[in-house]
């Protein structure tokens, strides 16, 4: 570390959780993101959790407008952004009021003292100044810094207007925290140059504010606050820090390359899925077409139209959008055309909590369409794994000619972690074959083309428009198996319903792996983004002497073939999920086991601590009864 001065006494800690909280206009997401990148480049393992309001700008200084970014950095492998922060930056009274309860007892609190004046205090609901009176800050180590005035002071000779200078105060906070955690300054300066290229005053103001924060740490004798988190011994290779939506977008591009089919995204803006549309729109050089449609229905319709034309048709949305797309998914099931439907889940029902996480659309994915209309479901488990989940969803859709639901959620979408970049040459190609020849002989001896003739996996033949001689019509009306002609025959309909179910069952999905203590009585079954919290929690449960096994599902339909055996004979199956028990319901229905949900529907992910406690309570209660 170049900026650690010789001989200074800097304590090493194995990990730390920091939370940056401020007003929506204070740039907390950007501050947290910068600190994360600097930590990633330093070699820490990390996980992040942006936690922000739905309003773009709620009234300044209000509780509703508090935007926070939590990051855990560590010198070892971690799975979550941590439970309770040990360090919190509060840029205004509202941030203090709304987030202080999260800080661990004895934690360090850094506040922007300048904002603690009557107007802001009133807006936050204080009738006193907690920095001066009351007991709110008792038991915390409070560092009160006049960030706004120090930032203005640092910028005063730069010709920057005071109002603009004030806006750089988040860089003061970043500079101070960067000093406390011995983060290198260079990457941040380089980033400022790049991000604000052409805006010289902003560049100089941000750098001045950052340096002022750094210097403040040194000169205000905060030396005893200074710690270092060493690089984590991660597997060797090239890493990048990636969030779920970016990884997912890249996975879709990878699938397009692996299948040699152009990617077509039909989408309509919706939080928290829009970033996938933004990311893919940047990558036209990969032959990507992004179509922002007039509504969710047109978005999926256009994606299906592109699929029908032989492209990789994808649509992205969140829960409410899925409701609108469900009729088209039914059509895609009937047409047996490939389609990837991506649901970045958020709190519901209705508008619910657009910027907060939840995973309550599993049953909707599974059963939320009219008629008997099964489709495969894939769920991502960490931000970086969204890359592979996207490829898997495309692989199933293209090779089995079916719509596939890919589930992610707000926590994965915006959370980030270091990702050991995979060798792209090692990714398995996706072989897609379209029909080019007649495949059937009519009674009169003439050859013709039947679009619903199937292979051993019950995958139908598909000829795309433009293929000579194979002209045919498909539609949502029930069709005769084989010829594809309209059929109202009762026996045929029964048969088609069976085929549509069976062809999903015949999709090969990898077996689940039991981790932890495979023979333990207690089995935790997870799916989706709970993987990190469950894994961390079970590590702690095991270290306190209890045996517990864990399986995590990335394929929710069809279930892995060995899942039944894994569940069989276990009396204690716990299913943590961010809903009121949807996977546990499916497991109970499918395997007749007593799967018990551990629910959380608070718009926030599970903390490892609360899962640890719930599981410990269960294990201890079980052994006493």
């Amino acid at each position: 570390m170049t900026d650690l001065e010789e001989g200074s006494k800097v304590e090493a800690v194995d990990r730390v959780i920091i939370r940056f909280a401020g007003d929506s206009g204070d740039g907390m997401q950007l501050t947290g993101d910068r600190f994360t990148t600097a930590s990633a480049v330093h070699g820490n393992d990390l996980a992040t959790f942006p936690d922000y309001p739905a309003e773009i700008r709620a009234p300044a200084g209000s509780l509703a407008g508090v935007s926070a970014f939590q990051v855990q950095i560590s010198d070892h492998d971690i799975m979550t952004p941590g439970d309770a922060p040990e360090v919190m930056v509060a840029m205004n009274p509202a941030a203090l009021k709304s987030d202080l309860h999260l800080l661990i007892p004895g934690g360090t609190l850094i506040v922007n003292q300048d904002t603690f004046e009557e107007r802001n205090l009133t807006k936050a609901g204080y009738d006193y100044n907690p920095l001066e009176e009351g007991e709110d800050l008792e038991g915390y180590r409070t560092i009160s810094v006049p960030m706004t005035s120090l930032t203005k002071e640092a910028c005063k000779d730069l010709g920057v207007k005071p109002r603009d200078a004030e806006r750089s105060k988040n860089f003061f906070a970043l500079g101070l925290v960067s000093w406390m955690y011995s983060r290198p300054t260079e990457p941040t300066f380089e980033w400022i140059d790049e991000r604000f290229a052409g805006k010289e005053q902003i560049i100089s103001a941000n750098k001045a504010a950052f340096s002022a924060g750094h210097v403040y740490g040194e000169s205000a004798e905060l030396g005893d606050q200074r710690v270092v988190v060493k690089a984590a011994p991660l597997a060797s290779g090239t890493y990048t820090n990636i969030n779920g939506n970016t990884a997912l977008s890249w996975g879709l591009i990878a699938a397009s390359q692996l299948s040699d089919l152009p990617l077509f995204l039909g989408s309509y803006p919706i939080t928290p899925a829009s970033d996938i549309l933004h990311e893919l729109a940047k990558h036209k050089a990969f032959g990507v077409t992004t179509f922002q449609a007039e509504d969710e229905i047109a978005a999926v319709g256009a994606a299906l139209g592109a699929s029908y034309g032989g492209h990789l048709g994808i649509t992205t949305t969140s829960g409410p959008g899925i409701a609108l797309k469900s009729e088209t998914m039914g059509l895609a099931i009937s047409l047996e055309l490939p389609l990837v439907v991506i649901n970045i889940q958020r709190g519901g029902p209705s508008t619910g909590l657009p910027t907060k996480t939840e995973a309550a659309d599993l049953l909707m994915a599974m059963y939320g369409r009219h008629g008997e209309s099964p489709l495969p479901i894939v769920a991502a488990q960490t931000p970086s794994e969204c890359f592979f989940a996207a490829i898997e969803a495309c692989r199933i859709a293209l090779t089995h000619r079916t719509p596939v639901m890919l589930l992610s959620d707000g926590y994965l979408a915006n959370g980030s972690e270091p990702w050991l970049l995979p060798d792209v040459d090692g990714l398995e190609p996706i072989n897609v074959e379209y029909a080019t020849e007649f495949n059937h002989i009519r009674e009169d001896g003439e050859a013709d083309y039947w679009p619903y003739l199937r292979d051993e996996k019950l995958v139908r033949s598909m000829a795309i428009p433009g293929t000579p001689d194979l002209m045919h019509r498909i539609g949502g009306i029930e069709k005769e198996d084989g010829s594809g002609n309209i059929s109202y025959d009762p026996a045929n309909h029964s048969r088609m319903v069976e085929i549509r179910a069976e062809r999903i069952k015949r999709i090969d999905v990898p077996d689940v792996e039991v981790v932890g203590d495979p023979d333990a009585e207690v089995l935790i079954v997870g799916w989706g983004s709970t993987w990190g919290s469950i894994t961390s929690a079970l590590g702690r449960v095991r270290s306190s002497g209890h045996k517990v096994a864990h399986v995590h599902l990335t394929h929710l339909n069809p279930f892995p073939k060995n899942l039944g055996d894994v569940l069989k004979g276990r009396n204690h199956i716990l299913v943590p999920e961010m809903n009121t028990g949807q996977l546990s319901l499916m497991l109970r229905a499918e395997y007749l086991v007593d799967a018990k949900p551990i629910s959380k529907v608070a718009g926030q992910p599970f903390t490892a601590g609360e899962l640890e406690q719930t599981i410990l309570n269960y294990v201890e209660e079980k052994s006493t009864t």
């Binding site: 690089a231 036209k284 050089a285 047109a298 139209g305 039914g330």
Partner: protein, 342 residues
């Protein structure tokens, strides 16, 4: 494959080549038959390949159309055909795409997709068979039914005002807007030929008789002996005139257009039809001339203006960016954010 094919001459076809082996199942006497026949007879003359032709439809009587065409086709869901066709057209600009639907399909449940498809101007031919009634669901009023109409769902008379499909299309910035009717094959074929040739989204309203649930809705203007006086044929570059003696004409007024006696105003003061005008106001005024199909009604091409076609503009962007940056490499993409070595 497609490039090689295109350099070869388009094989000659006959009407029979464009007919599928499926039995046509419209009610006997339905106006849809004459539209189907008009198109099946026309397609051999358009110089197109069957395998490059796709019919996309929604739901309704008209939407059964694709099943009867020996081309590629998709019978999709109610109202969504323009959206599905847009995706196909963007993915496959080499295809010749026709969208067929009725007034309920396109102006009610699918109204949003229709207006945006027209606004974007993606290359496709949209045929709206307007019979002013819901046929497949057996006789409810539609968004083009006239006020006061008594139907199963409006037994005391329809309260709402109808849409004027030509006005809607013009309001949606459509670059090609035309009207024809099911009683005149030659006119239909002329209009379909023009729509097909137009680069962008073409909108054709076809007055179509539903002889079961709304028989004779257009008879006052489309029956043979009434046409001269009731149909105003719009011909580009010519004064707009009609009547058995061509005794009537259209003149522009401060508030739009109105019908005048040629003998009173003189032929030189008649409005000369200009379908290429970029401002759609005059075309819109023409679309408002008749309140319903019981007054003299303009038919023909209201507007055929040049606007950028969406699919080619989009593929230009893709090619432009690819040219500028080079073809994307997955490995580079994965290394595009800050990276570090462990």
């Amino acid at each position: 494959m497609t490039d090689v094919m295109d350099s070869e001459a388009v094989p000659e076809t006959s009407r029979a080549d464009w007919q599928s082996d499926q039995e046509v199942r419209w009610c006997p006497g339905c106006g849809d038959y004459s539209i189907l026949t008009a198109l099946q007879l026309l397609l051999p003359d358009l110089g197109v390949r069957r395998e490059k032709t796709v019919f996309i439809s929604g739901i309704g009587c008209a939407a059964r159309f694709p099943y009867y065409m020996n081309t590629y086709g998709m019978h999709s869901i109610h109202g969504r055909a323009p959206a599905i066709a847009t995706g196909l057209a963007l993915a496959r600009p080499d295809l010749d795409i026709w969208v067929v639907g009725g007034d309920g399909d396109m102006l009610s449940i699918g109204g949003n997709h229709l207006i945006h498809a027209l606004r974007r101007n993606t290359n496709m031919n949209i045929l709206l068979f307007n019979n002013q009634i819901y046929g497949l669901t057996k006789g409810q009023f539609s968004p083009t039914s006239e006020t006061g109409k008594v139907t199963k769902s409006s037994p005391v008379g329809l309260i709402s005002e109808p849409f004027n499909p030509i006005s809607v299309a013009l309001g949606a910035e459509a670059s090609f807007v035309a009207r024809s009717h099911d009683m005149d094959r030659k006119h239909l074929q002329e209009i379909f030929t023009r729509a097909h040739a137009h680069p962008g989204a073409s909108f054709v309203e076809v007055y179509q008789n539903c002889n079961v649930f709304n028989d004779g809705a257009f008879a006052e203007i489309t029956k043979k002996d009434a046409r001269d006086d009731m149909l105003i044929n719009l011909i580009h570059g010519e004064p707009i005139q009609f009547g058995s003696e061509r005794q009537f004409g259209i003149v522009q007024t401060a508030n739009g257009v109105e019908i005048a006696n040629v003998s009173e105003v003189g032929i030189e003061s008649l409005l000369v039809h200009d379908e290429t005008r970029s401002d759609p106001s005059t075309a819109f005024a023409l679309s408002r001339l008749a309140k319903g199909p019981d007054e003299p009604t303009p038919v023909g091409v209201f507007r055929a203006a040049v606007r950028e076609e969406y699919a080619s503009a989009m593929s230009d962007q893709v090619m432009g960016v690819t040219e500028e940056r080079g073809k994307g490499e997955l490995k580079d993409l994965l290394h595009s954010l800050p990276t570090w070595e462990v």
